[in-house]
Point group: C2
Chain length 213, copies 2
Amino acid sequence: MSKHENISMSVIRRLPRYYRFLSDCIDKNITKISSKELAERMGLTASQIRQDLNCFGGFGQQGYGYSVEYLKNEIGSILGLQNNFKAILIGAGNLGNAVASQLSFNKLGFDLIGIFDSSEQLIGKKINNIDIFHIDSLELFCKTNKPVMAILCVPKSSAKSITDKLYSIGIRSFWNFSHYDINLNYNEVTVENVHMSDSLMTLCYKINKNLNI
Amino acid sequence: MSKHENISMSVIRRLPRYYRFLSDCIDKNITKISSKELAERMGLTASQIRQDLNCFGGFGQQGYGYSVEYLKNEIGSILGLQNNFKAILIGAGNLGNAVASQLSFNKLGFDLIGIFDSSEQLIGKKINNIDIFHIDSLELFCKTNKPVMAILCVPKSSAKSITDKLYSIGIRSFWNFSHYDINLNYNEVTVENVHMSDSLMTLCYKINKNLNI
């Protein structure tokens, strides 16, 4: 697997998209696909695809195409989706609810094991069959269940204090939906941000410049 | 403004973050900031900041620093935030609710003027003081109010049909939360995707490789 080291994040960020398209192919009973066909489906060039996949050692045979299932499984394995990392979600508002109910965590590398909120009326309820606990029970829950990742669906005003708490408990990985830049304040944390407002401003720029991308 | 043409999207994607940090500075009554101080706050290097801002003509004076408000306003203007592009949102479930209620659209370049859903019990209600209309009234609403952008908070299963409809009505810009690649099927559309599952898989990769980024 040493070949997988030092791959640029821009290549890595394309892998989930390959994974999604290959999953679609499987749903459509497509078993073999050429880089040309895959490129057409994905709006990329065949040479871009070959170049990306060559970072990981290839997977295809010249003139023969890729085995869809094999390629999907290999990409899943590179992404580490087999890990089922234990995760918790903080903030059971609309956003937390959407995240907990709409994503298939166990197909995406994680096992969502608990949801936390401070609102008394949510405690004891479930989202997608996962219990909502009171935020006060966070520390005990983490000591017992040892989650490695926390999903932050809290407002900016409480993001710092909850991150301090999670960090002190030992959480070092965050999927961050709050408007708070976690990695500026902590060492040795792994963070993936979903900054919706940044995305919306980028769209504004594209529309303003009439960019068809 | 011709200096702003041909700026790479990777620079553009950093602008919303500058904009957020400068807004924070204003909230903290900071009126002047050097590229070094801004770099420390943002976890970037001073030379990266100077290089980014030089793409747009500078804004700073050597040894004097940037005027926070001037710089924020200039970046806002480059992003086109003054446009208040009319937008509609499709799908008033948890995600649509979160998007409509948590973002300050009019500070981010848009004016959210209507929300659409097919669920009878939502019709007539409001989110964040914006009316929820029945999806059947979409065409008439668009003819009358002429929105330029649509936010898709619908499941993948209905994303294609609703996008077909919106495209036929004349919408050419999309903020897309659905697992559907709009720009593969339409010409001359402007799309910004928020693919949550891709983000989650990327986080899985980072944790698996123990990357502290």
